[in-house]
Symmetry: C2
Subunit: 150 residues, 2 copies
DNA sequence: TGAAAGCATACTAGTATTATAGACTTTATT
DNA sequence: AATAAAGTCTATAATACTAGTATGCTTTCA
């Protein structure tokens, strides 16, 4: 049930971009900054952000003083969207996947116990990941920081 | 968020064994039967069942007329146990894993947004997988079959 | 015009996955 | 006792995936 480094780095980067967006209008940040802030290999991150851009979740500005910024408001981007771009379907097995359904080897899908349970797992993961936006994450982080300060 | 074939086959096999246990005292089934019933490569399944045996979830009988059977009642074996044996930790990232904790690269784990959300995901998966026993699965399958019959 | 930044692909080393093969041990049957 | 059936154990192989590196290109600003 692993999240790949690719997915992890992508999520981290998107959270940083969401935080930046709260502080200044566009919230533009350069690869180098993200890479340094979160210990992510810059060249690897480059690929990841490019993929997110091609998926429409990020915009970028080329050239001197360029960088990346969110294509929508942080409350319009869910973690599920990000993970799907970088790591593929959320479902543990394809026979319960919405975006990549494929039949499995069982005699009858309708009475397959494994499928029932894995359907539950898929739904649980999706409820969290599709139900959590970048805005929710940054809010939660802020709340936690307040708590620690007191 | 994938379940490996190894994990999938193992779960399928355990469900078959649980069903067998309902029908006859020991519920002993041979590799070959499981392999045929669910289209699983026999030699691969062999390794998987061996791992489950070494983990204490299965017992076996060697020689002619031998086979595998559950080491405990189906209501004493959770899907979580099976998955952990075959696929390792349930957690999407190690920094929220109970059985394989490892720090991640973030500056402060306490205020890491990704960690918070992935903690939720881990808990959701664990609630389902650790909270579902083989007995529950076979009951559910039976209920579904009744429904279809009517 | 040159440096800074993203764009795009190609490549690679290592590891994990999904098996397959073969020799060995135990047990029941004849 | 011999044979065949079944699990045990370890090695190997083919393939794909992961996590990164490298390299050259294009755009933009000063």
């Amino acid at each position: 049930m692993r999240l790949s480094k690719r997915g992890e780095y992508g999520l981290r980067a998107m959270i940083i971009l969401a935080e930046a967006q709260k502080k200044n209008p566009l919230g533009m940040v350069q690869i180098k900054e993200i890479s340094q802030q979160d210990q992510i290999p810059a060249k690897f991150l480059e690929q990841i952000l490019l993929a997110l851009k091609n998926a429409g979740l990020l915009h970028s500005k080329m050239g001197v003083g360029g960088g990346y910024y969110l294509s929508k408001q942080p409350d319009q981007i869910s973690l599920g969207q990000i993970v799907r771009v970088l790591d593929g379907p959320l479902a543990p097995v394809n026979c319960v996947s919405q975006m990549a359904y494929e039949p499995c080897g069982c005699p009858d899908e309708n009475t397959c116990g494994l499928r029932m349970v894995m359907g539950d797992v898929r739904n649980a993961i999706s409820e969290i990941l599709d139900g959590t936006t970048l805005a929710m994450v940054t809010d939660r982080v802020e709340a936690q920081i307040m708590k620690g300060d007191s």
